[in-house]
């Protein structure tokens, strides 16, 4: 395991290893609840809370969790945080809770959260695990916002509930339906991949004539 800097632990999850756009984790909520920006924000915040809380507990108690039952223990911790998030949202912001419906409870099975526990929080210090969780949670939020913005603008003609195109715009209903989620994710991944490739190319050209000889150097 290569040692990383604290700063890198945060940035990695936000961009370089964005859970949705690069690791393709947590796609269920990313596809299901991103039909409006408001839903994306609420889901992003709830997931952020569960991820940070779980990483804190898992990294704190990692010495006492036997290896054989670690996955069960992680799921137990995650499920507890999800239940708390569910109850608190219902009590404090009932309208948003109503919006998200069953998807709050489904945060339990978001493999991004379990993945961070298994890959990071169970092996690193509490501080680093928190930084990693904050970074990954933020990256997840950014991905949801990108999808939610795209889908709400095209599928509803509005952004955060405010009409953009006026009365004459015919909403692309498919964009707020499940197929719209897949289409949006596909286009965003395409754009993201194209941008990454292009950036690598630019780096390679800038290093000319030294870099052109070996592509590996640029990558």
């Amino acid at each position: 395991m290569r040692e990383t800097t604290a700063g890198y632990d945060v940035v990695r999850g936000i961009w370089k290893e964005n859970p949705v756009l690069v690791q393709l984790l947590g796609l269920c909520p990313a596809l299901a609840v991103t039909n409006t920006v408001a839903n994306s924000i609420a889901m992003g915040l709830a997931t952020f809370f569960v991820l940070v809380g779980s990483s804190l507990l898992v990294s704190t108690f990692k010495r006492w969790i036997p290896h054989e039952v670690r996955i069960s223990a992680y799921i137990l911790i995650i499920a507890t945080f999800v239940t708390i998030a569910d109850l608190v949202l219902a009590a404090v912001v009932p309208l948003i809770h109503k919006e998200l419906g069953a998807f709050i409870a489904l945060i339990v099975v978001n493999c991004m959260i379990l993945g961070r526990q298994e890959a990071f929080a169970s092996k690193r210090s509490v501080g680093r695990s928190l930084l990693d969780a904050v970074g990954t949670g933020t990256g997840f939020m950014i991905a949801l916002l990108m999808m939610g913005g795209f889908r709400e603008i095209l599928g509803n003609g509005s952004l955060l509930g405010f009409s953009i195109f006026g009365e004459n715009f015919e909403p692309w209903i498919i964009m707020i339906l499940p197929p719209g989620g897949f289409l949006t994710l596909g286009f965003i991944l395409l754009a993201f991949g194209w941008w990454r490739e292009r950036r690598a190319e630019v780096v390679r050209i800038r290093q000319w004539p030294h870099g052109v000889a070996s592509r590996e150097e640029a990558a």
């Binding site: 395991m1 036997p66 708390i84 219902a90 404090v92 069953a102 298994e118």
Partner: protein, 263 residues
């Protein structure tokens, strides 16, 4: 891509070799732990998790219930277009009664709300109902004037319909307003395809099942409670003329529709 990925795979491999009883695990494999300790760890963790959830629930539940009661109060006001006051009538085997049937929880008991205007004349009933929609049960409340046989208004209290489509049953105000002054039995028609008939209600494009469910809930509830409400309205008129509370308890020989949930 992810530099943690190989570690995950190692973890999975560890698990596999452990199950196969192989002794040659990777060097970071911890020594085997007794099953008693495993059960103790998970049991303890489960007990703590349960305790935490119970504490949070104890804090959250009164707030959730208070919010639901507030929503219901506001909904009664809304579907009856702001009555001066309203009273709660319990649906019993003998009819509508202002006192709950003995031995029944007042929260769970089936009830309707009778609204009065400023001059203490009854306006109509607010009736709750629920049926499965597209995703889950749709809970709604509607106002109904039994004397004139007109729906006064409709409001969805709880639903998990598809965001952006099915949720238009409460977000699309044209759909919601379409129920005002509609006459039961309601008939759903495509928007713009109506003939102006008083039974017609415009449905929602892309949310056929959700909007049809709303219409059916109202039809079924009026069908179920209709005789009760009509005689109730008649007794109410008599009651306003000077009779006491007892006159409000009207008797019709029917079973009250069980299983209706207050939200």
């Amino acid at each position: 891509m992810s530099r943690e990925l190989p570690t995950v795979q190692n973890g999975a491999a560890d698990q596999g070799s452990g199950e196969a009883g192989s002794a040659g695990g990777p060097p970071d494999q911890p020594p085997a732990v007794s099953s008693g300790k495993l059960m103790l760890t998970l049991g303890l963790a489960g007990a703590i998790a349960g305790l935490v959830i119970v504490l949070v629930f104890g804090w959250a539940d009164p707030r959730i219930q208070a919010y639901r009661a507030k929503v219901l109060r506001e909904a009664v006001q809304e579907v009856l277009s702001g009555p001066a006051r309203y009273e709660t009538l319990y649906v019993t085997a003998d009819g509508l009664s202002p006192t709950p049937p003995a031995g029944v929880d007042t929260v769970m008991a089936e009830k309707v709300f009778l609204g009065y205007d400023a001059s203490d004349e009854p306006i109509g009933y607010a009736i709750t109902g629920s049926e499965p929609g597209f995703q889950d049960f749709i809970f709604l409340i509607f106002g109904y004037d039994a004397g004139r046989e007109r729906v006064l208004g409709m409001k969805v209290l709880e639903s998990k319909e598809t965001p952006g489509l099915g949720d238009k049953i409460f977000k699309d105000l044209e759909f919601v307003d379409g129920f005002r002054e509609a006459a039961p039995p309601l008939v759903g028609v495509k928007p713009g395809a109506g003939t102006g008939d008083e039974h017609e209600v415009d449905m929602i494009t892309g949310a056929t099942i959700s909007s049809r469910t709303v219409i059916e809930i109202i039809n079924h509830r009026i069908e179920d409670l209709g005789p009760l409400l009509e005689s109730g309205a008649a007794a109410e008129a008599a009651g306003a003329a000077g009779a006491d509370d007892a006159a409000r308890t009207v008797s019709v020989g029917r079973e009250s529709g069980a299983g209706t949930e207050e939200s």
